[in-house]
Symmetry: C3
Subunit: 269 residues, 3 copies
């Protein structure tokens, strides 16, 4: 059974996470961060975004509902995060099928994100191997995307996380597969986008870690936590309204040990 020391660090350090994220999921994202012990802040003005990125422990850049102003804020926040070596996560929502965000994602990825999280079609598109999905739905099987994820990890230096029935966490020389959760999570908006935010929180929590695989393990722990909460909540209800409530409660209650009992992690070289 996997233990997740990163989740202890997450609770202890209460990382401050700046979320440059889409307006659809801001509320649930903030609540998820609070439930897991992190502190959310949504500061997206182009002038203020880099000011905040310099003091944040982690930054999430989610392209779901970009405007010209928020795109500028993202560019500035990514540049600031680079200067302060603050970990940041790119969530390339719906990249591939839409022009503005696709160009923006390719530009931002040059800023060397610590992690990239998306569904299979988004990772394929960002790796240059696919045409993207219809919104936040994955239309490519997770398995077929592993090669693209590896190529993307190699090119960018990021840990690449591919969400699907199982989540694959891919970095140089390592693939971890997390299995857990419940399909009803697909019917609650923001479970995936919140995962990007918790990934940024976990990276912030291990920020000064010295282990070789600190970042990979942090991304893995974030995925395990949200997945385990899904497994646990689904024991009570699989209807989306009440599941959403139970999932938030579970995120708050879960200990790192319990997470290890609720999900399966397989490691591949």
């Amino acid at each position: 059974m996997t233990t997740f020391p990163e989740l202890h660090l997450l609770r202890e350090r209460a990382p401050l996470v700046q979320c440059l994220t889409n307006t659809v999921v801001q509320q649930i994202t903030a609540n998820v961060l609070l439930a897991v012990g992190a502190a959310p802040a949504m500061v997206a003005h182009p002038v203020e975004a880099p000011e905040f990125a310099r003091v944040a422990d982690g930054v999430l850049v989610n392209l779901g509902t970009i405007s010209d102003a928020t795109a500028d804020a993202m560019r500035a926040a990514v540049a600031a995060a680079g200067e302060t070596e603050t970990p940041w996560v790119l969530d390339p929502v719906a990249v591939g099928g839409l022009s503005v965000r696709t160009r923006l994602a390719h530009e931002l990825v040059e800023g060397r994100p610590s992690a990239i999280r998306g569904n299979a079609s988004e990772i394929l598109a960002l790796a240059g191997a696919g045409s993207g999905g219809r919104g936040v739905d994955a239309t490519d099987a997770v398995e077929t995307v592993l090669d693209s994820a590896r190529a993307l990890a190699e090119r960018t230096g990021a840990v690449v996380a591919v969400s699907g029935p199982s989540d694959a966490i891919v970095s140089l020389g390592r693939v971890s597969q997390v299995t857990g959760g419940h399909p009803v999570m697909q019917q609650v908006i923001g479970t995936g986008c919140s995962l990007g935010a918790v990934t940024a929180a976990a990276l912030g929590a291990v920020r000064f870690g010295v282990e070789v695989h600190s970042d990979h393990d942090a991304v893995l722990a974030a995925h395990a936590l949200l997945s385990a909460a899904g497994t646990l909540a689904a024991e009570t209800t699989v209807r989306p309204g009440s599941f959403s409530v139970a999932w938030m409660d579970a995120l708050h209650e879960l200990t790192p040990e319990r997470v290890g009992e609720l999900v399966t992690v397989e490691e591949h070289a």
Copy 2:
């Protein structure tokens, strides 16, 4: 008892609905669409909005929190929807009392929406017969607005839906009245705005229907579904927090047959 074959189509076809909607209700709107079996996408950048409208099955244009940029996105999406003959729904939130959205609504309605959904005062204002309401509250009785709805349907070709204690669905030569739900729905933000989104989903589901009344029946089915979920949820709780959760669960669980048992539909020529 009315059966709703359109609701079977909605589940089977899982229409992709682009929501150009207000930021207050984006989360609940997305969750409602997922609960009823549709797929939401909020793409509101002026360049991307028409790109997405061309691949969506239905488009919602809700004027609740317009900015200059989202107004441009709406214009572009409506033009694109016209080119691809994608059904789109206009929800003229608070039109009548506020200058920018009132001008915008009058402009957009020339783009021939498949349906227009609003409360009585909004429909009156859009028909040129009233001065609008105070936000999303109706201040005119549904009954007095039927003539205006008929005139608006005639002028625009749209199915016009007037929300109130009973909902009236008005098209050329036909008025259907849906009775159900519970007054607590007025105390949960977004139940009305979500109805606009589900209306777009239902129109997308019957998009290639050949029945004379396909669009009217789709709009009717959407209203019946959300109303039936309200009736069902209110059997458990009428407090707004827990009702909101129960309503989402009900939307997910309801079969088309059960919808017919929970609401009353009256037809008028």
Copy 3:
């Protein structure tokens, strides 16, 4: 035991509250206003914002996620509220640490808000005595901020409310301390921001009051109501997901008399 006649007025008059507030908390803010008997409207277009401020009973200006356009809307709404003597509330989220909103807050406060609500670090920053907090978290003890709150109340004429473990309501010659609620409220995003909106609602409800302390008592009643709902909800659950639902139900159910039983109010000269 304190009774809260202002809460009766709130239910009777159903004040219309314009919320120029951050996009993270718009949904919960609207639901909270509906639950306590007020009517929410989020109208933030720079041209429409002052149109609406002239008909609203109260206006909330919350700086959480400002853009250039919403900043213009805030300036215009505040000016309009000044013309019609409509009460308005300033919530200076994260002021102190971020440049654009700090300048904006100092500018807006010249428009003479009826009330200013924030955590200790925000009130310190606005009073010119501190450097601000990291987002919505307070980093200064409520007690140390009372002098700054008094100075701010004197300079602006506003009732100044400082949120913390106990809330302090400060105006010329009067300090009221409200104790109640539960720490889990800190883990539900928007409980504080909603308090700003309910404060605007309560001020709108007593708008034509003739008592010396009408505004102070209205701000106090708003704080007592949300705090009491927290106390009551926490009797059922202290997990953030289910607490959030129970809190909304409690806001809807609480009578003014019951509020007085659930919180403690201490008065100081």
